[in-house]
């Protein structure tokens, strides 16, 4: 089926808003105390899908969210909704021969992307393998909870895994509400206000890249990053799924900064750039290095390339 037709589900010509408002109001009036309910609760409840909102609607939603966040977290957030840059398809490279497994990327990511610290959510999982053990096709021998005094350890190597930003993402295919989708620059994003928390995408993801807010996300107040993107690192809600967005709030700018994990990596094992730009670092890696993608047999076509520089 051609993509256009599929996407049209969200672009129905008639106004669904009236229908939606009427129906949902009737339904929800049974569940919520109408008299003292704050108007913004209703607005949040009736909020449309991100892709369905026009610019004005989006701006008013963002304004409402900034107000909500300010009340909730006592800090002022700036929520951007920057569109994809034309002619950009993001790709990522990770040098397996250099990674020392120090987990700085894991926590730099948490710092940048406002994940919950308690309960803990990490978007990056670093796997440790013994040299000579099975790996890549079977990750069963991998160790996630290693904690030696120093890394790298003799006889081991490390492979960080995060969202692979598949060109053919199984998570997007299975989402029953279209709450997650692939943007034109290749980033798979989630609308945290549309996700119903069924976790079907988590079952479908072969890389364990999707994480669920099992509890109310919590973080020390002074540790929030207030520069956010609607589809990226704005504070999340209990009961929704989240994932790596290649730091959409940083990268989707012109000029745009490298993702936080790239910038923190002490060994420079992480590479990032535009796959459509023949002079980019990521293209250099693909063209000059031995490259593999994780679980390639599943045909998800990740835009996350593991390579060996040596």
């Amino acid at each position: 089926m051609p993509k256009e037709i599929k996407n049209n589900i969200l672009q129905k010509p008639f106004s669904r808003r009236a229908l939606l408002k009427g129906g949902a109001l009737g339904l929800a009036s049974l569940a919520l105390p109408v008299g003292n309910a704050d108007a913004s609760v209703w607005e949040a409840f009736l909020q449309k899908h991100f892709k369905e909102m026009n610019d004005d609607e989006l701006q008013s939603v963002i304004k409402r969210m900034e107000k909500e966040y300010a009340e909730k977290y006592n800090v002022n957030f700036n929520i951007k909704s920057t569109k994809p840059l034309p002619g950009t398809l993001f790709g990522y490279g990770l040098d397996v021969s250099r990674c020392i497994g120090c987990r700085r990327c894991v926590y730099a990511c948490v710092k940048e992307n406002n994940q919950s610290m308690e309960p803990q959510i990490h978007w990056i999982t670093v796997l440790r393998f013994k040299k000579g053990e099975k790996w890549v096709s079977s990750l069963e021998e991998a160790e996630v909870y290693y904690a030696p005094p120093e890394v790298p350890e003799e006889g081991h190597f490390y492979m960080p895994v995060q969202c692979q930003q598949c060109e053919n993402p199984p998570c997007v295919k299975v989402c029953p509400t279209q709450a997650t989708w692939k943007e034109r620059d290749g980033i798979v994003v989630v609308d945290y206000n549309w996700c119903i928390g069924c976790r079907y995408c988590m079952a479908a993801c072969p890389y364990g890249a999707r994480h669920f807010n099992w509890g109310q996300p919590n973080r020390a107040k002074q540790e929030y990053n207030t520069e956010t993107h609607y589809l990226g690192n704005r504070p999340r809600y209990k009961g929704v799924v989240e994932k790596c967005t290649f730091c959409i709030q940083r990268t989707r700018e012109n000029p745009g900064r490298y993702p936080a994990c790239v910038e923190i990596c002490p060994v420079g094992a992480r590479k990032f750039g535009n796959l459509l730009d023949p002079d980019s670092e990521i293209r250099y890696c693909i063209e000059n290095k031995r490259v593999f993608r994780l679980k390639e047999d599943l045909n998800t076509s990740p835009k996350f390339y593991y390579f060996f520089a040596t």
């Binding site: 490279g93 710092k111 610290m117 309960p119 803990q120 996630v144 540790e223 745009g256 670092e281 890696c285």
Partner: protein, 186 residues
């Protein structure tokens, strides 16, 4: 009449050559975040070495006792310029400043030098589609013992096997351990 084109061809050739050379020079990254990482108070070397006589013999050093060369089977003056200690010297005899030490490293590690220029070897920060910030080789590799030094890893994730839910108050939320890590490489 016929001679002028030859001159033009020659001029064009020279121009293109210069252009290529200039372009080749452009391969070198423009911007280095930190200056070369000297030990405190060590630079300029000429501060001490100015009056000293050059001794080319291999020997136990009495001053730089912290330096144990674990690199190649070489000696100080294979890289340090004996005549002007504030400079380095390539095998060709060309003298370069410390800020261009990558030429020195590139003499042996040509493949890595090439990767580094492409931004693939080593750490690079800044803008993916704009100005990029580079590090010198010596920012990560101490030239006298260039093997990357082990680091203390940050804590592993919470294992769900022992992740029994408890309600936390604001002050019980753990702080991000990466905040305590300085961005300095060594």
């Amino acid at each position: 009449m016929q001679k002028i084109p030859y001159v033009l061809y020659f001029a064009l050739f020279v121009f293109l050559l210069l252009f290529e050379v200039a372009k080749a020079k452009d391969d070198i990254p423009e911007f280095f975040v930190p200056p070369p990482p000297f030990s405190e108070g060590i630079f300029p070397c000429s501060g001490c070495h100015k009056g000293m006589e050059v001794n080319t013999n291999r020997r136990e050093l009495s001053y730089h006792e912290d330096i144990k060369l674990k690199h190649f089977d070489g000696w100080c003056l294979d890289c340090h310029n004996p005549n002007d200690r504030d400079k380095l010297r390539l095998a060709s005899g060309k003298v370069i400043p410390f800020t261009e030490s990558y030429y020195l490293c590139g003499q042996c590690h040509g493949d890595i030098f090439r990767d580094w220029k492409a931004g693939v070897h080593g750490k690079r920060t800044g803008m993916w589609n704009g100005k990029k910030e580079y590090r010198l080789c010596v920012h990560c590799h101490w030239p006298h013992q260039p093997r990357f030094r082990p680091l203390e890893p940050l804590p592993p994730p919470v294992n769900p096997e022992d992740n029994k839910y408890k309600k936390v108050t604001q002050d019980q939320i753990p702080l991000n351990p990466v905040n305590n890590i300085s961005d300095k490489l060594r």
